[in-house]
């Protein structure tokens, strides 16, 4: 069965419980105490060790009608694309599609070449830094001397590899709901069978439209560019760009035929020139 996330941003209250639950379950290191000044967003972006990221979009203006304002919150996550750029790019086969139809990086196979990082049209995958035995950048548990050994074998101890959301592969195997969806207090993050989620999402857009709100789905249907539908899709109330999502993502491998053809033309032309030059004594 294909499972996925439906993230309904109209229900998000920006509590970041998803971020915390994800970090705790997956034993991911903290992002440090950075204050960005960008609304309440001090996480900034998804990374190799940040697999949920709550975006805060503040929209305000004062006109004749008085103050008009809107505060959008959205929990971003790996999209688990139907045609995943990272999976196609991976030269070791570390990135696979598992039995839940999720895109999963096997941390013990990945050798850290970094090609998936530049092949994700959504900028999700990133490298995990090498494990830091002093525990300065890592979670509290790694600061405890007795637990360091244990944490070297945990995922974050596998530094030097690529990291992203696993759609809680381990929890799903046990029949549990992924940590972020479990922790979400408003059901903004809904987990389940993708087809069922899509039907629910379409109904939700209808309801919202009836109430006079604007809403659109991002990735519930084929998103174009060869990427296909997303297993983790979103309900948005503004253009995707406002949430730092690409309006027109493209699957990188679709450019390969043109690339190889252009290289072949160049090779052929230069080889003929070379043959003509070297033919004459």
């Amino acid at each position: 069965m294909a499972t996925g996330f439906f993230t309904d941003t109209t229900l998000c209250i920006g509590c970041k419980a998803c971020e915390v639950a994800c970090k705790q379950w997956n034993e991911l290191p903290s992002d440090g105490f950075d204050f960005t000044g960008d609304s309440y967003d001090n996480t900034s972006e998804l990374s190799g060790t940040t697999w949920r990221h709550v975006a805060f979009v503040e929209q305000m203006s004062v006109d004749d009608g008085g103050l008009r304002d809107r505060w959008l919150m959205s929990s971003d996550v790996c999209k688990h694309c139907t045609n995943a750029g990272c999976l196609e790019a991976c030269p070791t086969g570390a990135i696979i599609r598992n039995e839940f139809d999720s895109v999963f990086i096997q941390p013990d196979i990945c050798n850290g070449c970094g090609y998936c990082v530049v092949s994700c049209p959504f900028g999700v995958v990133d490298m995990i830094e090498k494990f830091d035995p002093e525990g300065v950048r890592y979670n509290l548990a790694s600061l405890v001397e007795d637990r360091r050994e244990e944490h070297k074998t945990a995922l974050q101890g596998n530094g030097g590899v690529a990291g992203k959301c696993t759609l809680c592969y381990d929890r799903q195997k046990l029949g549990f709901v992924p940590a972020c969806a479990k922790a979400c207090p408003t059901d903004s993050i809904q987990f389940g069978d993708v087809e069922e989620l899509r039907a629910r999402a379409r109904k939700r857009v209808e309801t919202l439209t009836e109430r006079g709100m604007q809403a659109q789905l991002y990735g519930a249907d084929d998103i174009g560019g060869g990427v296909g539908p997303l297993n983790a899709f979103f309900l948005l109330t503004d253009r995707p760009e406002a949430y730092n999502l690409p309006a027109q993502p493209v699957l990188p491998s679709t450019r390969q035929p043109d690339g190889y053809a252009a290289a072949a033309v160049a090779v052929l032309g230069l080889a003929v020139a070379g043959w003509m030059i070297f033919r004459n004594a």
Partner: protein
């Protein structure tokens, strides 16, 4: 997707909103070792073609072929070290060889490098057997088919690095889906010609350099034409590469010093110059081409990093 009316604070037709000017994509974490590999891999591929072209029966060409083969084998032996050193987990390099994946230029490239090393190694054995350094019967392991095989595999290794960059989500790289692979081939060949010229002059095989220099002239002209067309084609996606401090560096070192100056010097070589002057001219032209070739690869990688951090470039990605 349905059209939405603009939210509060944004006028109709206002520029695309960004998320606090934060970039959407992640930059490549590749450094000097990947840049160097793109450069030496291109030379290695170009030498594959040169050893095929110089497969004739006059003494100068035979010397050139021998130099090209030995150099390409040495590069093929050194390149894996560069590739392994950039990995987050170098000890897992062999995981690259657990599968062969046609959809992944990185995977195909690694296999291309493996097979190229085999062909180049065979051809070196052939050279050494011919000159009696190793027993003649070892030629049995180095059949003649390895000569065109090395040329074909060389063409692949010179070209795939371009596809490796252009078949990513990086806005600048992907805007050159045809230009970067073609320019990689042309730059690889011109650098290979320059290195061959340099080594030939150093071994006192100066007469053959005129042929290589003519080939270099063709490759450099092709590279120049491709880059000029790329600049117009890439538009805004190309700004990290063609403009600013990075663009200035690329123009100075790659286009002016690395392409135009060697072209002029190589044209000058068609005049009857005194031998020492001609040798000096060849050496200067070759060194300039090599420097330009390296800066070209460096500029590709660094412009890719800048492009990935552009908050708007990746919203609408090049097809």
């Amino acid at each position: 997707m349905r059209e939405l009316t603009e939210p509060p604070g944004r006028e109709e037709g206002a520029p695309t909103p960004t998320y606090y000017e934060r970039p959407l994509l992640k930059p490549p974490h590749w450094g000097w070792s990947v840049t160097t590999y793109l450069f030496t891999g291109g030379i290695m591929g170009g030498l594959g073609l040169i050893q095929l072209l110089a497969d004739r029966h006059d003494e100068d060409e035979r010397k050139l072929r021998r130099t090209a083969r030995i150099t390409s084998f040495l590069l093929a032996a050194a390149n894996p070290a560069l590739l392994i050193s950039h990995l987050g987990r170098p000890e897992r390099f062999l995981n690259m060889l657990r599968i062969m994946k046609f959809k992944s230029p990185m995977s195909l490239g690694v296999w291309g490098l493996v097979f190229y090393s085999g062909a180049a190694g065979g051809n070196v054995v052939r050279e050494l057997a011919n000159s009696g350094v190793v027993p003649r019967w070892l030629r049995f392991f180095a059949p003649g088919i390895l000569t065109p095989a090395q040329a074909l595999l060389g063409a692949f290794t010179a070209g795939y690095t371009g596809v490796l960059l252009s078949a990513t989500a990086n806005p600048f790289w992907s805007s050159g889906k045809r230009h970067i692979p073609a320019a990689s081939v042309a730059s690889g060949l011109s650098s290979a010609c320059a290195l061959s010229t340099l080594l030939s002059v150093l071994e006192g095989n100066g007469r053959v350099t005129h042929k290589i220099e003519r080939l270099e002239l063709v490759a450099a002209t092709a590279e120049l034409a491709i880059l000029a067309h790329f600049e117009r084609h890439a538009g805004n996606y190309g700004t990290p590469f063609f403009t600013g401090a990075r663009g200035k560096r690329m123009r100075t070192y790659t286009i002016q010093a690395g392409i135009l100056a060697p072209m002029a010097l190589n044209l000058l070589g068609m005049l009857p110059l005194p031998k020492p002057v001609d040798a000096t001219r060849s050496v200067i032209a070759s060194v300039l081409t090599l420097v330009g070739g390296y800066i070209f690869r460096e500029s590709l990688i660094e412009a890719g990093k800048l492009s990935a951090r552009d908050p708007r470039a990746a919203f609408v990605q090049p097809t």
